[in-house]
């Protein structure tokens, strides 16, 4: 039953084929069986079964929505009341949140059942899930390889059918890149669509919540429930959320797909390029037209991102000082020493690196040369997309330049690691919606992601094209061996 879509589960629950408690217990068993993946930091079995029982009552009373009783998991970046919320860090290894993130509240209000909290790169800083204080997550397709990151735990859990879906966040590719590496579907909506309240901040102007699922159809359902204005987040958009299900099955004949030539250059592994080209031919077969577009500033996307994101992070992470909650060093000489030791012990190497980069680029005398310059580049990158969308309805390309790499392979080379996000982070800089869907496999059987990027606020087209692609192919139905 773990292979069903959310809609199929919802129908089965309503028919009484099985109960939410049974469905939840089944997934909890799979979570136990899949423990070696290290996908979860915390499993809340007891709470999940209580929530499932409540959902069953509601379903019996006819008081159920499309997500009632469906099990899921939250990335451990979302605050969950009464449940450990670590953000993958030793700094928060003792932090039990006293409140729920808006996303958590909304999915709970929709009747969903939370199985627990998934592993992630520390403070969402990483592309391989290797920076987690709780150890690396293994890719279900190949246990010696990374699942991608930072939402690696969520991606591995969904790919291995431990949960039908999991929440995730994306600052520079952290939903789409692990979706690609784990062969699943992951959507990052437009900046401002999903409330950031209770989502522990990495880079506030780039962070966006989204969801990892096994299909675009499922993604549309869950995103619908997550989205919408939240008065507690001043950057959330006070706009109506369109019905994502309404146009999901629309014909895509006549849609124009832009192919940025910068996304098909030398840096892309041949298998990735071929698979993505094949996927684009599939879309053409469905009646879409393709046109070449230019994103001339995309080459500065990585340096721009790696100035702005650390700058914001260096400030966002200042609250972790050991004073009010979180890790505090056992011994210290004075206040400064308490800060230094607590933060040196509480933060891992990658987080410390980014705090230092961010502190540097904001420093007096360097601010204009780095931060202001990067803000200007960000504008140019966004303008590139605006111009490209004058010629097309949606942009397609690879999600990541390569497939999942072996655990440990890029640990000594941060820049090589950062290049994983070369096709994703410009989308965050521009605030656009993007999705990654599985488009095939390389010779080693590792999944390859097709990225579709939409106009600002046009999640509907992104989901529509992804869904039509999935109706015509079955790549998204493939399960990793041992987890089918």
């Amino acid at each position: 039953m773990h292979d069903y879509t959310i809609t199929e589960h919802a129908e089965a629950l309503r028919r009484g084929d099985y109960s939410s408690v049974e469905l939840t217990r089944h997934h909890l068993d799979r979570v136990d069986a899949g423990e070696a993946l290290n996908a979860f930091v915390t499993v809340t079995a007891e709470q999940a079964l209580e929530q499932a029982a409540e959902a069953d009552r509601n379903i019996r009373n006819g008081d159920a929505g499309p997500l009632s009783g469906i099990p899921m998991a939250h990335k451990d970046i979302f605050c969950t009341r009464g449940v450990l919320t670590t953000c993958g860090s030793r700094m928060l290894s003792n932090f039990v949140s006293p409140y729920d993130a808006t996303v958590v509240t909304r999915l709970r209000d929709a009747g969903m059942v939370s199985l627990g909290k998934t592993n992630m790169d520390e403070f969402a800083m990483g592309s391989s899930n290797e920076t987690s204080y709780y150890g690396p997550v293994k890719n279900p397709w190949s246990p010696d390889r990374v699942p991608g990151g930072s939402s690696g735990g969520s991606a591995a859990a969904v790919a291995a059918r431990l949960a039908p879906l999991a929440t995730a966040t994306d600052t520079g590719g952290s939903i789409r890149q692990p979706a690609a590496m784990c062969g699943i579907t992951g959507i990052k909506p437009s900046y401002g669509r999903v409330s950031r309240y209770g989502m522990i901040a990495f880079a506030s102007s780039l962070d966006q919540g989204g969801v990892l699922t096994r299909s675009a159809e499922d993604a549309a359902l869950v995103l619908q429930a997550m989205s919408g204005f939240d008065a507690r987040d001043s950057t959330s958009l006070d706009l109506p959320v369109p019905d994502y299900g309404a146009g999901l099955g629309d014909d895509i004949a006549g849609k124009t797909i832009g192919l940025p030539k910068e996304f098909f250059g030398d840096g892309v592994e041949p298998a990735v390029a071929e698979t993505v080209q094949a996927a684009i031919r599939e879309l053409e077969a469905l009646g879409a037209r393709t046109v070449e577009v230019e994103l001339p500033n995309s080459e500065v996307g990585i340096p721009c991102y790696y100035v702005l994101a650390p700058a914001e992070a260096s400030s966002n992470l200042s609250r972790f000082d050991g004073v009010r909650y979180g890790h505090r060093a056992a011994e210290y000489d004075d206040l400064l020493d308490m800060y230094s030791r607590s933060r040196a012990e509480g933060f891992g190497e990658e987080v410390q690196r980014r705090i230092m980069i961010g502190t540097y680029v904001l420093s007096s005398g360097y601010y204009d040369a780095y931060y202001i310059k990067a803000q200007k580049l960000r504008r140019l990158i966004a303008d590139d997309f605006t111009r490209a969308f004058e010629k097309c309805d949606i942009i397609a390309g690879p999600t990541a330049p390569g497939t999942a790499f072996p655990i440990g392979a890029k640990n000594d080379d941060p820049v090589a690691m950062y290049l994983n996000d070369i096709f994703t982070n410009s989308v965050n800089l521009a605030g656009l919606p993007g999705i990654s869907v599985n488009a095939g496999f390389d010779a080693d059987g590792l999944p390859i992601g097709l990225q579709l990027i939409g106009r600002y606020l046009d999640e509907a087209t992104v989901l529509n094209v992804a869904h039509r692609f999935q109706l015509a192919t079955d790549w998204h139905r493939r399960a990793p061996g041992g987890y089918a």
Partner: protein, 477 residues
């Protein structure tokens, strides 16, 4: 050498909003520690700020009152530094674009009016408090105050003496209270000032190196701290030394300033625009609504009191320090047939003294404006004399009723019957033949004695004007 003092002031004014600037927590003073510290106040992971528009309204009100330009788009920035009472590790403030731009304030330090430039005023959040007592070697942190809205008002270096600095602070303090944007309570930290002080040879245009004096939270300490600092700087320069740019702390117990940190140790605050908050946009309608809500400003009101009500400048100034006092005065003037000048004397005189003695604000006066107007009417229509009126006021203050009731109960109604007064006068003149003779011999002063005798016989109730007239007529040769 003759030295000139140059002073600029930075004043932090707590704005009188019910809730904090970026959260719904209460701003009330004096609650148990950390009982007004919500998730946002303690900076839990994941929380976000949401702007309280009321704080912006109060800031704009101030801006309009000092004739400043209002930046209808202003930007919140993060000022980054670590301190235990700063829960986020940064303070949300405004840096490059403050909500209030350049304006000015007129002061008078006793030598005539002077205009002081105000460079800017920006919105920011207050920090919490560190408590060092009773924690067994630890420091306690109270975050009730964290997030209370502040308006930081920065002046130009336009003041030339400690007296001018104090005059500026008093004027500013009166203005924020007058506008109702702050309670101005200095003991509770609602009005806190830092002073930038430098000296230069008289006639020199270039500014000297300044010291920033922190922690001077009463008008008296401002004056003392600046005086001390100016002397210190003069001593250094006259001994051939150099002033170092630094922050100095005023120690009221020792009446001295001492170095807190030098420029080299100054923080690099790494300001950048807060990505959690969009720019604060105030449309024309918002600003217009604030403009419409502005009361008549103290400066304008003072001039109106002088020009149209004929008050003395000093009295007009005193009446307009507090809006409530000026309102009370105007209510009295509107309700009485007495001259405004008389009303002013009573409000600043008897009423002021009574309020002072009872230590209550005019809003709580035991004699309201209508009652005082009624009393002044009885003077104006000669029912009682001004002198008797003071006794009546005292009785009214003690709750014996309005003026008419007190006058009736105590039988204080003035004798204005000419025939009655005339017969009393005749009696007195008959008893005081000596004095009558002295008067007629040219000693006019003796008339005072005769008036006194008449008043004594009438217990002060005879109309003094009539007594004088009749007496002079009868004494005329």
């Amino acid at each position: 050498m003759e030295w000139e003092t140059v002073i600029g002031l930075e004043v932090h004014v707590q704005l009188q909003t019910k809730s904090k600037i970026f959260s719904g927590a209460s701003t009330a003073y004096g609650a148990e520690p950390n009982t007004q510290a919500c998730d946002v106040s303690i900076a839990l992971p994941g929380v976000l700020p949401v702007m309280n528009r009321e704080a912006a309204r109060l800031a704009v009100k101030f801006g309009l009152a000092i004739g400043a330009e209002i930046n209808q788009t202003s930007v919140f920035a993060r000022k980054n530094y670590f301190y235990p009472d700063l829960p986020k590790g940064y303070q949300i403030s405004q840096y490059e674009i403050p909500v209030v731009g350049r304006g000015e304030l007129e002061i008078d330090a006793g030598d005539g009016p002077k205009i002081i430039g105000i460079t800017r005023a920006h919105l920011e959040e207050d920090a919490g408090k560190s408590l060092h007592e009773n924690f067994d070697g630890f420091t306690g942190i109270d975050l009730n105050r964290a997030g209370t809205p502040l308006l930081e008002i920065v002046s130009e270096p336009d003041m030339r003496s400690a007296a001018e600095a104090v005059a500026y602070l008093r004027q500013l303090h009166a203005l924020v209270r007058y506008l109702g944007i702050s309670d101005g309570n200095m003991q509770e930290g609602s009005f806190r000032s830092d002073a930038n002080v430098s000296i230069r040879p008289k006639g020199e245009q270039k500014l000297g190196t300044r010291a920033e004096l922190k922690n001077i939270n009463s008008f008296r300490f401002v004056e003392k701290a600046i005086r001390f600092e100016v002397e210190r700087q003069i001593d250094i320069l006259e001994d051939g030394g150099e002033i170092v740019q630094e922050t100095r702390l005023y120690d009221a117990d020792r009446d001295e300033t001492r170095s807190m940190r030098s420029k080299e140790e100054a923080h690099d605050y790494r300001y950048f625009p807060d990505p959690d908050l969009p720019p604060l946009v105030l449309d024309d309608a918002f600003v217009a609504a604030v403009r419409d809500s502005l009361p008549e400003l103290p400066h304008d009101r003072r001039h109106r009191f002088i020009d149209t009500l004929g008050l003395a400048p000093a009295d007009a100034a005193q009446l307009t320090v507090e809006k409530s006092l000026a309102d009370y005065f105007e209510a009295v003037v509107g309700a009485t047939s007495a001259e405004p000048r008389i009303a002013c004397n009573w409000v600043l005189g008897e009423l002021g003294a009574a309020l002072n003695q009872a230590d209550i604000p005019v809003e709580d006066s035991r004699v309201d404006s209508a009652a005082l107007a009624g009393l002044l009417d009885r003077i104006a229509d000669n029912t009682i004399s001004g002198k008797i009126a003071k006794d009546v006021f005292a009785a009214m203050w003690e709750g014996e009723g309005d003026a008419d009731a007190v006058i009736a109960a105590r039988g204080l109604k003035q004798i204005t019957d000419s025939g009655a007064i005339e017969s009393i006068v005749d009696g007195v003149l008959a008893e005081c033949a000596d004095q009558v003779r002295q008067y007629r011999d040219g000693n006019e002063k003796v008339i005072g004695f005769l008036v006194g005798q008449i008043m004594k016989q009438t217990q002060g109730k005879a109309n003094p004007k009539q007594v004088n007239e009749i007496l002079r007529r009868k004494l005329a040769p």
